[in-house]
Each structure stands twice: as C-alpha cells, then as structure tokens.
Symmetry: C2
Subunit: 467 residues, 2 copies
C-alpha cells in the first residue's frame, strides 16, 4: 500500500481539500475547487462521516457542485440538490455525465423524480429515461450513450465533419464506432486513422472489423472482464436487436473491478449486503452492524455442532486431557487450509481462469495439495509431540507413540478433508447458480470445525480404547 502523496505531482493534497471542506467556508471551497482534481475531492469526502458530510454539502456553492458532481456519491448530490433553487438544480444536472445522472435519478424517490427529469434538456431527458430501463449492475446501467458513431458509407472527410459537431459531447473520441443503417456495429476506427489519412479515403478501408461487444443486460462484471481481457478503451454495448446503444469506458471497468474485488473480499469474510457507494468511514456504525451481524449469528449457532461433538467425546477428553492441547491446532489447521483452498478457487473463478469443465481438475489438484500439506504438517507436529513435549503433559501409562500417532494422523486427515471441502464448495455453489464467495466461506468454516473435532477425538477414542 503506497504512500499516495509521496512521489506524485498533484497540485493540492487530499489533506488540504479535507481542511478546506472542514472550514465550511464557501470561499475557501470555491478557491480549492479551482485547483483540486475532483478525484482527490472524492477521496476527501470519503474521510467525512454522514453528519459532517451533510454540513459540508450544505455550504457547497452550486458551481462547485456542478464541477464535482460526477465524483460525489449520488446520495450526496441529491442531498445538496434538494436545497438549491430550480435554476441551479438544472445547472448541476446538466453537468452530470450520462451514467452518473442515471445513478442519481435512481437514488431519488420515485415520486420526486419527475420534477428533476423535467429540468433536463430534451436530449438528456430521452437519454436518461432510456438508460433508467436497465438495472444498475448491468452493462446497460453502466454505459454512456455519449460515444462517437459514424455510418459506414462515409469518407474520412465526411466522418471528420460529423465528429467535429459532436466533439464536445462525446466522452471518448479516440474510438469511433462504425455502424450500418440499422445501427448494427460493423467495426471501429481510431481518431488517428482519420487524422492521418487522405480526405477521400472511404472509412471502411481504415476500419478495424472487430465487432466485440456486450449485451445491455450482461452483468457489469462481464463487461469489465472483457475490457481487461481485450485491452479495450471502450466496449460497445448492443441491445436485443443488435443495435449499438452505448459504450462502457476503461475508467468504468476499473471502477467495476474495484467494486467487485471489494465485494468478493467482504463476502469471503462473512460480510453481507451491498457496500453501496459509501466508503468505510462514511458508513455509520449501525450500517456496519447490519452488514456483519447476520453471518456472525448464523455461524455462532452452527458452531454449536462442534460443541456438541465435544460433549459426545466427553469420556475421551476427560480420561486424556492432554488431547486438549492439540485440539485448537487441529481445528485451526483445517480452517487455514480450507480457506486457502477456497480463496484460490474463488479468485480463479472470478478471474475467469476456470471453465465449466475444470471441476475435476481442480479437485484432483487440491486433493494432492491437501494430502501433501497434511502429511508434512502431521509429520512436523508428530516430531514435536515425540521430542519436544514436556513429560508433565504426557498422560501416564500410555506409550507416547500413541499420542504421536493420533495427533499426526488426525492433522493429516483434517488438512486433507478441509482442503477438499475448500475446493469443492465454491464450485458446487457455482453449479447451483449461487455466489461462490457468499456460500462457501461460512459453510467451510463450520464444516472444518466439525470435521476436526470428529476426526481427532474419534481417532483418539479408537486408539486409546475409551468406550
């Protein structure tokens, strides 16, 4: 994790922006807005909790809001918008990019939406109503319609003339999409192809016929993965009639990947629900609890199964209490190796490394990893039991090798079982069309705790002959 301010050349630091915002002085905020990059403003706002943020927002001049609106959370923009006069509301709304505008409108209560929509100029109104049809997490919900398209029957000169007219609206002019009369995607051009060729060249001669595109209803993660895989600046989005309706740009892909990675990590740690647009410090204590209590409660009660297993083996434990010394180790080793395997598999699935036919290969690999890891660990600990365990811990009247054997074998079996469970559950979840990260982690925790208790104490019961 780098120290962000150290080596980069940035006009105003995030800390300076935080100070200016904290001062709540409209003049200071206006002054800093002339220098600060909105990306840093976004980071500065992430340092404020809800109450402080609203106080700052209430002092934000409308012209500053217009400049920052694309980078603030829709909820924050809405909060400030509510208290502005109509004219300034319009100014802010017009400053928003397509996708941020749609996010904002979706945030606003349905009955208040029309009053904002009617402030929009005709064209933006149509666009936003179009875009609002798509759920937030789809390619359609994430795309912008402000891209450059040209018809295939143009020459370089004609294409340049058309682009000149839209150069201020288009978010991205370095990729120009070529369509036919039905808006069907035919290929793409780079602006350099137009800039450096003679004016009468037909664009079809310069066009790259790559028709890679994504459907409006595809998951935004799929779109981001395509942008990453094909190194795209912009990915065309097509509707059900194969008509080009928008593009998702490289910066959206970065944002989507960040969100999805965060989501995956949170799910693996048993944090539920949607993070939303809010950063860690922006989220209230109650929201944090809401997202965490569910799994904590479920897992706590599931842990009763392990407790019940312990009770079942009361005789063994009471007779040879030394066994308790290794109990936490055996359970923990299962948890550790199970979560290693699960993380490996879940991440490989997220990165698209595993096709649908790879189920068996993953299990076979993890089976071998599990056996070897287990055997190595079992051996190390067995040696510790035999040579390093102080005599006072060794139960009397028993050959120490029996304890060595129980601990060593139980560890081996537990690590092997846990590794397999860790590799198996995410894949089963995916086959059942469930989210591997959500399902697998808590289930693995519980299962390996129980398996550890049964393997260890069961083995001890048999080997020590306590019935």
């Amino acid at each position: 994790m780098p120290d962000t301010e150290s080596t980069s050349h940035i006009p105003v630091s995030v800390d300076e922006i935080v100070d200016a915002l904290r001062s709540q002085s409209p003049d200071r905020i206006l002054a800093i807005s002339k220098q600060a990059h909105p990306g840093d403003v976004e980071m500065a706002f992430e340092r404020f909790d809800e109450v402080a943020r609203e106080e700052v927002l209430d002092k934000l001049p409308a012209e500053v809001l217009s400049e920052w609106a694309d980078y603030l959370s829709p909820g924050d923009v809405e909060h400030r918008l509510n208290s502005l006069p109509k004219g300034e509301q319009r100014e802010v709304l017009e400053s928003l990019s397509d996708d941020e505008l749609v996010d904002l409108l979706q945030e606003i209560e349905e009955e208040d939406r029309p009053q904002y929509i009617e402030l929009l100029p005709e064209e933006k109104r149509i666009v936003s109503e179009d875009l609002m049809r798509f759920p937030e997490e789809t390619a359609g919900g994430r795309m912008t319609m402000a891209m450059a398209t040209v018809r295939q029957n143009l020459t370089v000169k004609e294409a340049l003339d058309e682009l000149r007219c839209i150069q201020n609206e288009a978010e991205l002019l370095s990729r120009i999409f070529v369509v036919d009369e039905n808006r069907k995607l035919l290929g793409k051009l780079r602006l350099r192809d137009l800039a450096f060729n003679t004016w009468d060249t037909p664009i079809t001669e310069l066009m790259d016929g790559d028709q890679t595109c994504v459907s409006v209803l595809a998951d935004q993660e799929e779109a981001a993965q395509m942008i990453a895989r094909y190194d795209l600046v912009a990915l065309p989005v097509v509707d059900e009639n194969d008509q080009l309706v928008g593009v998702i740009t490289h910066d959206d892909a970065l944002e989507i990947m960040e969100e999805e990675s965060t989501e995956d990590m949170e799910k693996i740690s048993g944090i539920g629900g949607d993070r939303g647009d809010l950063a860690y410090l922006q989220t209230s204590v109650l929201s944090h609890i809401k997202r965490r209590f569910g799994w904590v409660l479920v897992l706590a009660f599931l842990a009763l199964i392990s407790g019940w297993v312990l009770l079942k083996y009361e005789e063994v434990l009471k007779a040879y209490f030394t066994l308790a010394l290794y109990f936490p180790m055996i359970v923990a080793a299962g948890g550790n190796t199970g979560s290693q395997a699960a993380t490996m598999v879940i991440r490989a699935m997220s990165l698209g490394e595993l096709g649908s036919k790879e189920f068996g290969r993953v299990l076979w690999k993890e089976l071998r990893v599990g056996i070897l890891l287990g055997a190595m660990l079992g051996l190390c600990v067995a040696l510790q039991v035999e040579f390093l365990l102080p005599d006072q811990f060794m139960p009397e009247g028993i050959n120490s090798l029996r304890i060595v054997g129980i601990v060593g074998f139980a560890l081996t079996a537990q690590v092997m079982t846990s590794t397999l469970i860790g590799a198996l559950l995410p894949q089963l979840a995916k086959m059942g069309r469930l989210d591997p990260a959500v399902v697998a982690s808590p289930a693995i925790t519980t299962m390996v705790d129980v398996s550890g208790a049964i393997i260890y104490l069961g083995l001890a019961k048999v080997m020590l002959g306590v019935f």
Copy 2:
C-alpha cells in the same frame, strides 16, 4: 460471476481455442490465430498445466507466437524462443511491446540475455536497456516509452506532422504529452484538439495544463490508483530529474489492480509468496504447497498457545463439561468478527480511503461496532442457553442463570476484543511499514483463539468458583 460466452459477440470461444491448441496441429493453430483475440488465447493457455503447455508451445509457428507474445507469460515465450532459429527469434522479439519485452528479458537467465538483446534493432535495444533498470513492480518497470510527446513551441500543423511520423510506433495517440526543451512535462493534448482546430493555432492554447504524473520508482499500485482516481487514459512517468520518460496506460492499470486484489486476498488467507504470471491451473502442486505450507505450519504451532490455555483450565472444564458445548462458538465468533473488521480496514486502506490521521477514528468506530455486535450476539445465545438448552446438558446443582451469564458475557467480551484486534493490527502493521494483509490475518487468528479461551474459561472459573 458471469457466464462469459453467453451474451457477448466473440468470433471464437475460449473452448474452441483450447481444442485447437490441444490438437497440436500447426495448421489448426495458425487458422485459429487469424480469428481468435489474443486475450482469449491468454485465457485458453491458462487452462493448460506446465507439461501440456510446453507441448503446445513446441508446435507453435513463429508467426503465431509473434502475434500472441504480448499475451503469453514471459516464461512461455522464452520456452518457445529457445528452439527457434535466430531470424524468427528476432521477429518475435520485435513484435513485443516495450513492457512485455522487458518482462521477458528479465525472465531470461542473465548470461543468455545478451544474445537476445543483440537481435534487437538499435532503438528497441536502447529502450529495453533503459527500462530494465527499474524493478518489475515499479511504475518504471511497468511503463512504455512508446508514447506521443511534442514540444510546446509547435502549432497544430507542426504537431500533427510530428505525430504522423510516429503514428505506427506510439501505443496511444489519444493523449499527447507536451514537454519543454528539457523534456519536463507541461501538460497534455487530446488528438481531437489537434484534429479539430485550425492549423496555425499554437498548441499551448489548446493544452490542458494538468501535470499529474508519477515517479519511475513509485510502486505500480500507486500508479494504478492514480489512473483510477483521475480517470486517466495514460499516466505520465517522470524520472528523478522530472523528465518525462514514459507512460502507464489504462490497460496496465486494470492488470495491476487485478494482480494487487488477488495478492491481498491471498495474503488475507495466509497464502505466501508471489503468484507470478501463472494462473491457478498452470501452477504445479509443488508450487501451491510452497506458497501455502509456511503459514499453515506457523499457525499450527501458534495454536498450541490456545491448547495450553485449555490445559491450564483443566479443573473448570472437567468439573463443568457442559462448558465445552459453547467453547467452539466463542472461539469462532472471535475469528469471524475479527476477520470482518480486518477485511474492512485492510480493504479501506488498499482503496486509499484511510489517511494517516484516521487511526483513532477507525478504532472508535470498531469499538462501538464490536460492543454492539458482541452484546447482541451474547443476548441471543444467552436466551438460547436459558430457554432452549435441553436439561440433560445443564450441570446439576447450579443455577442455570450462571451458565447463561458466563456464556453471554464471554461472547460479548470476546467479540468486542476480536473486533478491536482486527481493526488495530492492520493499522499497526502499516505504521511499522509492514504489509497489513500479510501481518494482520495470521496474527489475528491466533490472538482471538487465545483471547476466546482465556475470556471464557477464566470467567467460568471465577463465576463457578473452581480454584
């Protein structure tokens, strides 16, 4: 996790590429290389293990290798290169982009490197020797030098003429960097600014004076975060003399973010070492074990501390064996809440949400979350003990409320402690300039296991009066 093939328009599926590769027929491979996107080829290669991959590579025609080289792992390219004649080696090397070429040269044994370097044309040789000075994980190690730069004293026409000459080499022409006579960065231009303005306009009039840049020695993660934060297509990289030496492009940023997220997830799960360029299925069983065994072994022995705590409380446990029923629950609740808190904090740090001054605020937030989570969970489980626990489990001669109290209070204290530990350790690690994800996770696991045992059994000992 989307089903990649479902909704996107791709000429050849990854499965078809896998089949063609598996056939090992040079003709089929050549045929598919004309249609397949190299990004899909990369995914196809991820499905092969080492042995199978080398067999396929040995059959790969040189012209196909040239086309795919940027997308294959440097190790794979080197493997194939070794068995090619000099002429074809040169062809492949020339086809590589700057940064992939440098990765490849770094992969090759130092004594073999000169023979490859001397195959390069003069210009590429200088560039690659320049780039090899920078460690792989720095901005310098990741940048390309093939960017478009122009001097500030040009007109639009002059700038266009210069760019026309380099249009085939430059990786990216949509951002053009303006420098002074010392190659110091002054600002940037978009190609559209040149394409749509009159030829005699001085470019300084059109230039955006944004001088955001990153140092060659900055961590690659810092560069990726800047690209994400400022929505950049390309981030300029400057050397110690503030001279512009290269750029990092948006597609590099996506790749870096993917790598870093994977690394973080793996570290949190106690997987050590570097993933390298290899995908899950490409990594051999032994490499998997190498990366996992370290922490598994360390954590196993650390778990002995919890076992030792159990032994210390032998009297209490033997006297009231029912306590064992709730032991796994209390330990697990600590692990779960501790890892939730740690994940939240580690991810917020990775995303740059937490400044250096936020230490206290994070602790204060997690303290409140921990107390509330603990109290809620303690209450739920206390009610279960009182009303749902079958009588057979309740030790005789004790008021059930004592057990209720012990379990409820221990859970509350354990969850609060674990949440605090989870929030504290990553921040301490960062202050000590250690990697939060590596240090925090295993330490948290061990600490909460021990704290759970001490809190629960210690409380029981006091409340039940066993001395």
